[in-house]
């Protein structure tokens, strides 16, 4: 049996801000341009991919984030078992998308670390290191952005009032988390 070692082991809590990694969560990048691609995804997953820029969609099990006109990230809403890395969704999409040449499906489960943030200081923290204008974003549930935070690429998904999921590449995640804590400690 292999041990599971995720990137961020600590949960951090400040007044009005909590941050922790949520894992394991399946993450897939799916790519495609054709109309059949969108419908095949819809049928396979019972989830309509968002086609409007900077938005997301959601089913019981999955959330889909718009990343570009031909790129989405799908992640599981539930925490999975770390003892296996076989993902039903991935297999299904490989069968219905990759094998039929409709588009591409890539497992990025460990490419990205998902940091869940809660509290009303989230955007104060972002403002210390991201040039993105969060004024509208923060009030729009489901909105998504790819931008930079502390010079690091991040994907931010507005989950709920005062709750976001932040995705960052694993090799950057510890540096970013340390930076976020340093910032949070001064908010």
């Amino acid at each position: 049996m292999l041990n599971y070692t995720n990137a961020i082991t600590e949960e951090k809590s400040y007044s009005s801000l909590q941050m922790k990694e949520i894992k394991p969560v399946m993450k897939l990048v799916i790519r495609g341009k054709k109309r059949e691609f969108l419908s095949a995804i819809g049928k396979s997953l019972n989830l309509l991919l968002p086609t409007e820029a900077n938005t997301s969609s959601r089913s019981d099990k999955l959330t889909a984030l718009w990343l570009s006109p031909d790129e989405w990230m799908i992640y599981s809403n539930e925490i999975l078992n770390s003892e296996s890395n076989e993902y039903e969704t991935e297999n299904l999409l490989n069968k219905n998308i990759s094998k039929t040449n409709l588009g591409a499906v890539t497992d990025v489960t460990d490419q990205f670390v998902l940091i869940n943030m809660k509290g009303d200081k989230i955007f104060d923290l972002f403002e210390t290191g991201s040039p993105f204008n969060f004024n509208d974003f923060r009030n729009k549930k489901g909105s998504v952005t790819q931008t930079i935070l502390a010079k690091i690429d991040v994907i931010i998904h507005n989950q709920n009032q005062n709750e976001v999921n932040l995705f960052v590449r694993r090799s950057f995640s510890q540096h970013l988390f340390s930076w976020m804590n340093d910032s949070a400690s001064r908010l």
Binding site: S68, P69, P131, F132, T145, Q146, T147, D153
Partner: protein, 91 residues
């Protein structure tokens, strides 16, 4: 620091983008048939215009898409953006 209106993501800060130089320099379809001079034209020679320039940018830290920008290089004002493959605006 510009604000660039990514044709896919909307207005974003310049820090999210990278510039890619003069636009509409099409890679020759048959490079082997070019003379050294003609190849050098493609490879190195640039208009380097002072004034309205058609240029390429990529939304590196966003959607990763390349697109075109019309910018006045004498004052850095962006006049228009358009997608790859689209015709440049005439006005």
């Amino acid at each position: 620091m510009f604000i660039i209106n990514c044709p896919y993501c909307g207005e974003r800060e310049q820090s999210e983008f990278k510039a890619g130089g003069e636009a509409h320099i099409v890679r020759p379809k048959q490079p082997t048939e070019l003379s050294d001079d003609e190849w050098a034209e493609y490879l190195f020679m640039r208009k380097n215009i002072k004034g309205i320039q058609f240029e390429r940018w990529v939304h590196t830290h966003g959607c990763r898409k390349w697109f075109n920008v019309v910018r006045d290089t004498s004052n850095d004002k962006i006049k228009a953006v358009y997608k790859m493959g689209e015709k440049p605006p005439t006005k």
